[in-house]
């Protein structure tokens, strides 16, 4: 046996080290995420997917590399989040296939497995685009195969693969114009490079260095449009206790309360006036929050929920509430307003999640399994969740139809189109037809300065995307962006415009904008509280 032959435990350690390295890079990767959707969650999604993969591998004490690779692949599949996560899971599937039946592996085996992983990843994507993680994987696998000809030790093969991956990342802006315009390299490609680089550090016995350093973003090869300073995207990972209350007092200072509470938790929302303030915060110490608030006034409507329990309870409660039906619906949504709205429209299981917090394949699968029917319609409501939703179909014995809704207005239109007298196939058809009749405008703040769709955007400006694809407006005020975007989307021809306002917007402000829409475009306008994070407004035209 050759001295450097590695076993399954080595493979596990390699990717554990790679994941640790990737975790440190996640905020940077999030910040450069512009393709396919500039939603700042690629790094997070890749880390979460890797964590699932490692957890599954940890449970496997087998030394055979074939068995460990299989566990990694299965875990990655169950945990796949977002587009990059799904591609990563395809990568591990290909790797496992390449290492099948092997107890140990050397550089040659790894190079062949990488080639298989690259092929699998390409096949898994309907429209593969160059200049992305796919290209980086392809280039790395080619370099690995070349390397085998000179030196087939694992370290040497991976070293060449990593070097080639880095060069490939640097070339991504020349291949994908949207990257060049935004002045960044591809986020998913950067993530894969960091993952492989971390694995290499383990093989070289340098993983202890990960503690003190952090990965650098690859510098683009070509001249780029100069970019503004970047800000790490905020992670919207729910953890700890979701704490809500209304504070009644005199001369309450909203901005001071906000400032004080900011230090005590995440996802903070403070709304109201100087006599009545509503607070929402995620914190590990809800007692401390309430202690602070009682010093300022009287507390009402206090709710404290353990968010981990909450999710399990949520699914359980929904199951108990629903009698067995012919066809059950499962959807993904975020925001208390949207939860309430969807529940008011009928029986539907809601998996919490959406933009910047894509649910995993496992969460979607759990919801499908808990649904009170063997026939399921799944509405992902986000472009980045569609592929994860499709994975669920092969993991359950239930019949699952995915109606590829790409935003919440499409999801609501599909839900409403549900025909009580139609079978699963006919319903899916009716819903697909319905989603083509709705257009969605999503308004958010730019996380950094960039150029998109020919528009110069400053960090913090409001931007409006039409159908998650085209940036159609930008302005300093949210309301101006809504009005301009509606004009470009043809609001005067719409039968009804629905304005869903987010957690950070006050109802009165949304009503004012609605009135302006009516005055300017002479169309029917309905205003609904969505309570969504991330998007200040989601507007639908039907």
């Amino acid at each position: 046996m050759k001295a450097d032959l590695a076993d399954g435990q080595t493979l596990k350690e390699m990717f554990a080290s790679g994941t640790a390295w990737l975790e440190k890079s996640a905020p940077d990767i999030n910040a450069i995420n512009v393709f396919p959707v500039p939603d700042g969650d690629t790094g997070t999604n890749m880390v979460l997917t890797m964590q699932f993969a490692l957890e599954e591998a940890k449970l496997n004490s087998d030394d055979h590399v074939s068995s460990v690779a299989k566990s990694l692949a299965h875990g990655a599949l169950m945990g796949a989040r977002g587009n990059s996560g799904v591609i990563l899971s395809q990568f591990f599937r290909g790797l496992a296939k390449g290492l099948e039946g092997k107890t140990h592996f050397d550089g040659g085996d790894f190079a062949r497995a990488l080639a298989g992983a690259s092929q699998t990843a390409y096949k898994g994507i309907v429209n593969p685009v160059e200049g992305t993680i796919l290209t980086v994987l392809k280039d790395a696998s080619k370099a690995a195969q070349e390397a085998v000809k000179n030196d087939d030790t694992l370290v040497s093969v991976l070293e060449d693969a990593v070097k080639s991956a880095r060069d490939s990342v640097a070339r991504t802006p020349s291949l994908l114009p949207v990257l060049k315009e935004a002045g960044v390299v591809d986020a998913g490609g950067q993530g894969l490079y960091v993952l492989l680089d971390g694995a290499l550090q383990f093989l070289k016995g340098e993983s202890h260095k990960i503690q003190y350093r952090r990965p650098r973003l690859v510098v683009a090869e070509a001249e780029l449009v100069p970019r503004a300073a970047q800000r790490p995207a905020q992670l919207e990972m729910p953890h700890g206790y979701c704490t809500n209350f209304v504070l009644e007092g005199k001369n309450l200072n909203l901005s001071k309360i906000e400032k004080d509470l900011k230090k005590k938790g995440q996802s903070l929302i403070v709304t109201g006036d100087d006599t009545l303030v509503r607070v929402h915060i995620h914190s590990f110490e809800p007692g401390e929050i309430l202690g602070y608030a009682t010093r300022l006034g009287k507390l009402h409507e206090i709710t404290i929920n353990n968010m981990d329990d909450q999710y399990a309870e949520f699914i359980k409660m929904q199951r108990e509430r629903m009698p067995q039906v012919d066809i059950a619906m499962v959807t993904v949504a975020t925001g208390d307003g949207f939860f309430e709205l969807l529940n008011s429209l009928g029986n539907i299981i809601i998996v919490p999640g959406g933009q910047t917090m894509n649910p995993s394949v496992r969460e979607l699968l759990q919801a499908v399994e808990s649904a009170p029917s063997d026939n399921i319609i799944l509405l992902p409501n986000n472009k980045n969740i569609v592929s994860a939703a499709s994975q669920v179909q092969s993991l359950t014995s239930k019949k699952v139809k995915v109606v590829p809704t790409r935003n919440i207005p499409q999801g609501i239109a599909a839900f409403l189109a549900f025909g009580y007298d139609l079978n699963l196939e006919k319903n899916a058809q009716a819903m697909e037809k319905a989603i083509n009749k709705v257009r969605a405008i999503e308004v958010t703040r730019a996380v950094r300065g960039t150029r998109l769709g020919g528009l110069e955007i400053r960090k913090g400006q409001f931007i409006a995307m039409l159908n998650d694809e085209d940036l159609i407006a930008r302005a300093d005020k949210a309301g101006d962006v809504v009005l301009e975007a509606l004009g470009k989307a043809g609001a005067e021809k719409a039968g009804i415009v629905t304005v869903y306002y987010g957690a950070e917007i006050k109802g009165a402000e949304a009503q004012e904008i609605a009135q302006e829409i009516r005055d300017r475009y002479h169309t029917e306008v309905e205003v609904i509280y969505g309570g969504q994070p991330h998007y200040n407004y989601i507007v639908s035209l039907e």
Binding site: L416, A417, D421, E542
Partner: protein, 278 residues
């Protein structure tokens, strides 16, 4: 010749009733102490005007056994065979009233009472079929057989801006699944097993009308169609225009919901009913 009797929930216009020799027994609408015979003392237009201006919510009551007995007695002067087709007994006690009316009249005439399990335009199409067969000289047994076979082939779809009237009158049935929605939607209901049944929803009235048109176009062969409105004659005309190439005008019946039906469905409703070919 067999004489055909129905109740006013069939929304058959007086002209059509006269033309086909159909006797329509009216139900009653009450605004407080004022009682009106459906489509006799009160037209659909007058009803909706009152609905919009009166502070009192209207209520409805069934035709009485005596009303049916009186009609049967009159018809017995000219026929020995009477077929009565009533609105679904899940919507009204009119079926029971007709049976009691039959029990109190003299027995030298054969009177049959059938629960259509339908209402409005759908019931209309069934009654028209029976009346046409009667005029063609078919026997009572033959007509009964045809009518019973036709019931499952009649389908109705009605769009609602609001289900409030249906809920208030307690006729909402399984369509209560549509209640409580926080979004303004157009509801499409049908009738299944004699009761209201939820079919689909859309965000606006135009999509609801599209649904009705596509519903009719979905049948491969159609014998007759009924199209109805409540307060929107322009929409009725537009539906008729869009369907004129699907079913020829001579087999298309236009009508308005009667005040009694209107009490339970409210303003703005539109309906299409189809009798599928066998």
């Amino acid at each position: 010749m067999v004489k055909v009797v129905t109740d006013s929930c069939s929304d058959i216009t007086p002209q059509l009733a006269q033309e086909l020799g159909i006797t329509v027994v009216p139900l009653y609408v009450q605004f407080g102490n004022e009682t009106y015979r459906d489509n006799v003392d009160l037209s659909t237009e007058e009803f909706y005007h009152k609905l919009g201006t009166s502070k009192i919510q209207p209520a409805t009551s069934t035709a009485t056994p005596a009303d049916f007995a009186k009609v049967f007695t009159e018809l017995m002067e000219e026929t020995k065979e009477i077929l009565t087709i009533t609105v679904s007994e899940k919507f009204s006690a009119t079926y029971a009233a007709a049976l009691q009316g039959k029990a109190v009249v003299k027995k030298d005439c054969r009177i049959e009472v059938i629960d259509s399990k339908l209402g409005a335009g759908a019931q209309m199409l069934l009654v028209i079929l029976a009346a046409q067969m009667a005029r063609a000289g078919a026997s009572l047994d033959h007509i009964i057989d045809l009518v019973k076979r036709a019931i499952p082939r009649i389908h109705i779809r009605m769009t609602f801006d609001t289900l409030e009237y249906l809920r208030r009158g307690g006729r909402i049935g399984k369509a209560q699944a549509f209640l409580g929605g926080l979004l303004k939607v157009n509801h499409v209901l049908g009738i299944k097993d004699g009761a209201a049944f939820p079919i689909a929803r859309s965000r606006n009235r135009a999509q609801g009308m599209d649904f009705l048109v596509n519903f009719v176009k979905g049948f491969s062969q159609i014998e007759t169609v009924a199209i109805e409105d409540a307060t929107t004659p322009d929409d009725l005309q537009s539906l008729a225009e869009r369907l004129k190439d699907v079913v020829p005008p001579e087999r298309t019946y236009l009508s308005k919901v009667s005040p009694v039906v209107g009490t339970h469905v409210g303003p703005h409703v539109l309906a299409v009913a189809v009798l599928e070919a066998e």
